[in-house]
Amino acid sequence: MQNNLKVERARRRISQQELADKVAASRQTINAIELGKFNPSTVLALKISKVFDISVNELFYLEEGD
């Protein structure tokens, strides 16, 4: 699974810490998601997409082989 988290975050000029605080997660978690090391749960994905006010599908998408 890939994501546009870093792009969306940069577009809105939100730091990893700010996003982490908004979704009640740690900065490490946000960093791991951005690097593709960790796939968030549905709840966390929904929370993040709510912060950016876009749908989950726009933020997270499947890559070939998934």
């Binding site: 740690s26 978690t29 690097l35």
Partner: protein
């Protein structure tokens, strides 16, 4: 939506650390002072005192490790949970491998001994000697069986978990 983590609150981690410290330093120091004050006589009861001391240390060590291992981190979220899960799986695999190695060695070694003892005649020439040999053999590899125990699995888990957390923090600092 709340997920139940079945973990102790974070403050229990500090309690666990204090209990660990107590088991490593507190018990031997108190024993020393009891000896100095004459409350116990180490000269006459050294073996039993050491045995009790080792038992007490093992109990406190286990409780301390348990509290540290199963208390929430300062910020416990689903990624930390995923690292916990990974660490538990790896520690269980290590424990199982130790058990498997010990069982294999004990079985093959024991079977070889039995075959050697029975020999061609089909009778054990020296049954007592054989029993002693078998017991010595098992004692020799007993440490390997211990490494597959729950206590060591706590230690594997804790070490693997802390290494992973350290790696995680390092990667975040590098990303800054």
């Amino acid at each position: 939506m709340k997920n139940k983590t079945f973990l102790f609150p974070h403050k229990f981690q500090k309690v666990g650390c204090w209990i660990l410290l107590l088991s490593f330093i507190g018990i031997p120091v108190s024993l020393f002072f009891c000896n100095v004050l004459g409350l116990i006589d180490l000269k006459n009861s050294f073996a039993i005192t050491v045995r009790i001391l080792a038992g007490l240390m093992a109990i406190f060590l286990s409780i301390g490790l348990f509290l540290i291992a199963f208390s929430q981190e300062r910020f416990e979220d689903e990624y930390i949970g995923a690292i916990r899960k990974k660490s538990i799986i790896i520690s269980t695999i290590i424990g199982f491998c130790c058990y498997l190695i010990y069982s294999t060695i004990a079985t093959i070694g024991g079977a070889c001994m039995v075959a050697e003892a029975f020999g061609v005649s089909g009778n054990i020439v020296d049954p007592d000697g054989f029993k002693m040999m078998l017991s010595d053999f098992c004692q020799k590899y007993k440490w390997l069986e211990n490494f597959s125990g729950v206590f060591y699995m706590f230690i594997y888990y804790e070490v693997i978990f802390r290494i992973n957390l350290h790696k995680l923090n390092k990667s975040v600092n590098n990303a800054e």
